[in-house]
């Protein structure tokens, strides 16, 4: 799988030359439920093909709890949750529908 960075563009970036299971990234910063996290997450994950992964980076404490719930509620699958120890949380989710 290829991890690509999304540097603030309008949509998730896509790995080059990969098949299903590609990893796209979305830096959610400090977005939370009160500031449009759900809407932006939905827009980002629906912009990638079914079966691909969206790796979301967040520094918002509520989003850390919310993103896995959001993914499950929207029919996607949480594949991994990483905590690098620097205040960020990296959550990788597979688009399910």
């Amino acid at each position: 799988m290829t991890v690509t960075r999304n540097e603030g563009g309008t949509g998730p970036s896509i790995g080059v030359g990969q098949e299903s299971g590609r990893v796209h990234t979305f830096d959610a910063g400090d977005l939370s439920c009160g500031t449009g996290l759900a809407q932006e997450f939905r827009r980002r994950i629906l912009a990638i093909p079914l079966g691909d992964m969206l790796k979301v980076e967040t520094i918002d404490p509520a989003a850390k709890e919310d993103l896995p719930s959001l993914a499950r509620l929207m029919g996607h699958t949480v594949r991994s949750v990483e905590s690098p120890g620097d205040g960020r949380l990296l959550i990788t989710m597979e688009r399910g529908r």
Partner: protein, 121 residues
């Protein structure tokens, strides 16, 4: 399927009775072996910070700091609304034992899965 019982608390030092009652009910649930959560919103989010429940007591009700500790000791969880902690400047570092900052999706997921909610007006 979620068996959680979620008790909403919206007040802190501003209203000791309304701050304490949800913890009374939630602690009964936790004591009885139920999966109990106090969901703190608005000014109640201060209750889940270190020392945030200190000095809150309503005549006829348990001292809140002691009740809070007992509730957490019984396995109870305290969820702090992230949209309420952020504007109050409450960070993860300030969150006390048993408490977690959560967002609305966390609560919605539990309710969709069958959790029951109790509100104290």
């Amino acid at each position: 399927m979620s068996d959680k019982l979620i008790f909403n608390c919206t007040h802190g030092k501003d209203d000791p009775e309304r701050a304490t009652l949800p913890f009374v009910a939630a602690n009964i649930a936790a004591t009885a072996g139920q999966e109990a959560v106090v969901l703190c919103t608005i000014d109640a989010v201060w209750l889940g910070t270190e020392g945030g429940a200190e000095g809150i007591a309503q005549n006829g009700l348990p001292v809140l700091s002691e009740l809070y500790s007992e509730f957490v000791g019984n396995g109870g969880a305290v969820w702090l609304c992230g949209s309420c902690t952020k504007p109050r400047g409450i960070t993860e570092e300030q969150v006390g034992k048993g408490a977690t900052i959560v967002g609305a999706a966390k609560v919605v997921e539990e309710i969709v899965a069958g959790a029951k909610t109790v509100a104290f007006a």
